[in-house]
């Protein structure tokens, strides 16, 4: 046998195998619509139908409608089975439905079909109302499932909320649906706080924030509850640790939710400002206790630590007053402006003076220490006019500096 005839034999064998294989495969349906027939019934979706429609012109509004139905029906079946693949189909279905919702031609065609089927012209309002309600109706099951799964399967619940927040429906609709999810929770917060049910309310709000982490309504409610609790705890003895833990916990929820550069406004800004003020007090070491005294510091490293805390407190206060410039006018936070304008700068000036004292009273100091003492006294002196005690202290240190220099 020659090489050529051997090849021909092989090619013929290959063709025979291909023909046999084709005979074994089910025939491709003649259309996507025909591919819905399975098991003697017309299914709302089959994998083949979806595949064939996705091959068609997805700009065609009829094809978009078929795909919206097929993906959505598939998603409902998968969700009922607890299959995570449901989310991808929900996402695609909502995208197709959002396209249909915004397409006037689709609604004109639906109206024509309705008129033809009923034999009378259908009032405009019927179609307009159905169209207006459609986004809410399509988002509702995700809100229901999120609420239901919140405690038992928060990860899955969160994915349902994301389907709502990430949907392509009009922003106002999405925002309204999002508020609707937590309306009952939010409505109950003022009463719960008034009754002193702080811990329980923080727990509930935290569980909802895990589902919708950047919801401003939830963040505002959490900040309100937290600062109301801290305001109460500040009047109690031995509550510093509890306040500290609470502020840290709330801060961990709030901080990542606020996009950098995007300044929140309205009531959220005010609540954030109050939170920053409480963080300033915590950093300063004045939360639940009297403001720290520079007299109590026994070493240069303690002074450095106190300075670091006070500077951090200044940063918090700057943020607070940026968010809510009129916070000083709020009777409960009247000491905020005093803290930033007087308390913290005064404390830092005292730290400079105390550090200068440490340097000037130490043995064997050189030019470097004397120069630093000079700078510290200049810094403290700039504030001394506002504090007679500090002014007198700085004056005595100036004398000591002259002696040490001599």
């Amino acid at each position: 046998m020659t090489a050529g005839s051997e090849l021909e034999t092989l090619a013929a064998e290959l063709e025979r195998l291909r023909a046999e294989l084709c005979a074994l495969l089910p025939a491709e349906p003649e259309s996507a619509y025909a591919a819905l027939w399975q098991g003697g019934e017309q299914q709302p979706w089959t994998r083949t139908a979806i595949r064939l429609w996705e091959r068609e012109d997805t700009e065609d509004i009829e094809v978009v409608h078929h795909l919206a139905i097929a993906h959505h029906a598939c998603a409902y079946d998968l969700e009922a089975a607890g299959d995570d693949a449901a989310f991808g189909h929900f996402e695609r279905a909502l995208r197709y439905w959002a396209a249909l919702h915004g397409e006037p031609d689709f609604w004109r065609r639906m109206r024509e079909r309705l008129d033809a089927a009923l034999g009378v012209p259908v009032p405009d309002e019927v179609v307009a109302e159905t169209r207006a309600r459609l986004p809410y109706q399509l988002l509702e099951p995700h809100l229901t499932l999120a609420a239901r799964l919140r405690l038992t399967d928060p990860g899955r619940a969160r994915r349902h909320v994301r389907l709502v927040t990430g949907s392509a429906f009009p922003q106002a609709t999405v925002a309204e649906a999002r508020v609707g999810l937590v309306r009952d929770v939010l409505d109950g917060v003022p009463a719960a706080v008034a009754e002193g049910r702080f811990a329980e309310t923080v727990d509930v709000l935290e569980s909802w924030l895990l589902l919708d982490p950047d919801s401003h309504d939830l963040l505002r409610a959490l900040l309100f509850t937290s600062r109301s609790w801290v305001e109460r705890l500040r009047e109690e003895p031995y509550a510093t640790r509890r306040m500290d833990d609470l502020l840290r916990r709330v801060d961990a929820l709030v901080r990542p939710a606020l996009a950098p550069g995007a300044a929140p406004g309205g009531e959220l800004a005010k609540e954030l400002a109050r939170h920053e003020f409480l963080l300033a007090l915590r950093s300063f070491g004045a939360l639940g206790t009297a403001a720290p005294s520079p007299d109590a510091l026994g070493s240069l490293s303690e002074i450095e630590q106190a300075r670091g805390r006070a500077r951090k407190a200044v940063q918090h206060m700057d943020r607070a007053l940026e968010l809510y410039p009129a916070m000083g006018g709020d009777p409960r936070y009247a000491d905020a402006a005093e803290l930033r304008g007087d308390g913290l700068p005064g404390f830092l000036a005292w730290l400079d003076a105390v550090e200068a004292q440490f340097l000037l009273t130490a043995f064997g100091i050189g030019d470097r220490e004397l120069s630093r003492a000079r700078r510290l006294l200049d810094a403290a002196g700039a504030y001394a006019a506002a504090d007679p005690g500090l002014e007198e202290f700085v004056r005595s240190l100036e004398s000591l500096l002259s002696v040490r220099r001599a």
Binding site: Q42, P44, I69, A70, R113, G119, Q137
Partner: protein, 105 residues
């Protein structure tokens, strides 16, 4: 106001219980008389041998047929049913033994 067909109800798929499916009626079917006759026949079949005409494995009740008939007569509810139903493509319409007016169930 019409109920929300997409509302989450355990075990319910809004695309497997449309009035057109319950009535085995094409959403494109026209003519009041023809539809009335079709629904009457469908009701009789469900009354007599509902087990022979299951919908996705579920045995239908006459009350469901009556409710479905009401829904296709109401413009708002019919519009919702149309939204949940694939529009038939005439050239690809397969035959159904139970369907006298179209391919949808």
């Amino acid at each position: 106001m019409a109920d929300n067909p997409w509302a989450w109800r355990d075990g319910h798929n809004p695309y497997r219980a449309t009035p057109f499916q319950v009535l085995a009626l094409s959403p494109e079917a026209g003519g009041r008389g023809a539809i009335r006759n079709h629904v009457r026949k469908r009701r009789q079949r469900i009354e007599r041998r509902a087990d022979r005409y299951p919908l996705f494995g579920r045995v239908l009740r006459v009350a469901e047929v009556n409710a479905a008939e009401d829904r296709i007569k109401d413009p708002a509810q019919r519009l919702l049913a149309q939204l949940c139903t694939h529009r038939p493509e005439p050239p690809a319409r397969p035959e159904r033994p139970d369907d006298t007016t179209g391919p949808a169930r």
